[in-house]
Chain length 147, copies 2
């Protein structure tokens, strides 16, 4: 059977993102796979819904979020020794962007943190779950332990 | 970080179950983990819903399914060199039984085949998705390639 050769870590910056990151690094090491990182800045629902824009100056806000995310992802990349060209910040729907980048880069395993389905998670679903439903490659959901 | 020490393969007998099985064996080898197998025979909805039993002789039918499953699981266990005491057939809801057995045996990774969400899968959801939502450990969804 083929081994994993390209692993994509979908990083958020929740409390335990380093735990998920270490799991991805551990897998990449054991498989001799190339590790890439992605973080997706979610689109902020703005624009005119008939009663004026919900958030004014939305472009600046998104830009600020992207800048902050790029700073943290650069740090995470250095910490995990992932070269800068394999560290990406995208803007959009996490599910869509993770899957798009995975497909474009022939990723064979996506590693994503998984929160329990309770509270607001039950209502919103989770990135792990969405990615699982739509990815064309394997998905490792790393259960976060603090819940 | 802790490595995986107990891996549970949730086996179905779909077209590509051997592909998922090989992935589980490969992971168990790389992590030096103990591999267990489970197959769940789904409860057949029987009983009197007010207009008589849907399936007569339901006990025999379940027994026959369990016997057939035990035969195949014994063969799979031999093929994967998993000792017989770590090969189980349970009856009930796949999600519940997989999660119950995982918790009772302190499993830290469940490996399950993942079908695309289309056709009837879209309607019914999938075992992979249900397990992901409720497991207290990591879940690897192995994407089946023939879809």
């Amino acid at each position: 059977m083929s081994t994993y050769t390209r692993i994509l870590l979908a990083a958020d910056f929740g409390e335990n993102y380093r735990y998920v990151a270490r799991r991805a690094v551990d897998l990449a090491t054991r498989y001799g796979a190339e590790l890439s990182l992605i973080h997706v800045v979610e689109n902020i629902p703005t624009g005119d819904a008939g009663y004026g824009p919900i958030v004014p100056f939305e472009i600046d806000l998104t830009e600020q979020l992207v800048e902050a995310a790029e700073k943290r992802m650069t740090e995470l990349g250095e910490e995990l020794q992932v070269p800068v060209e394999r560290v990406r910040v995208e803007v959009g729907s996490p599910k869509h962007e993770i899957i798009r980048v995975a497909e474009e880069n022939a990723v064979d395993l996506i590693v994503v943190g998984s929160h329990g389905r309770h509270g607001i998670g039950l209502l919103l679903g989770s990135t792990a779950s969405s990615v699982l439903h739509h990815a064309k490659c394997d998905v490792l959901a790393v259960r976060l332990k603090d819940e």
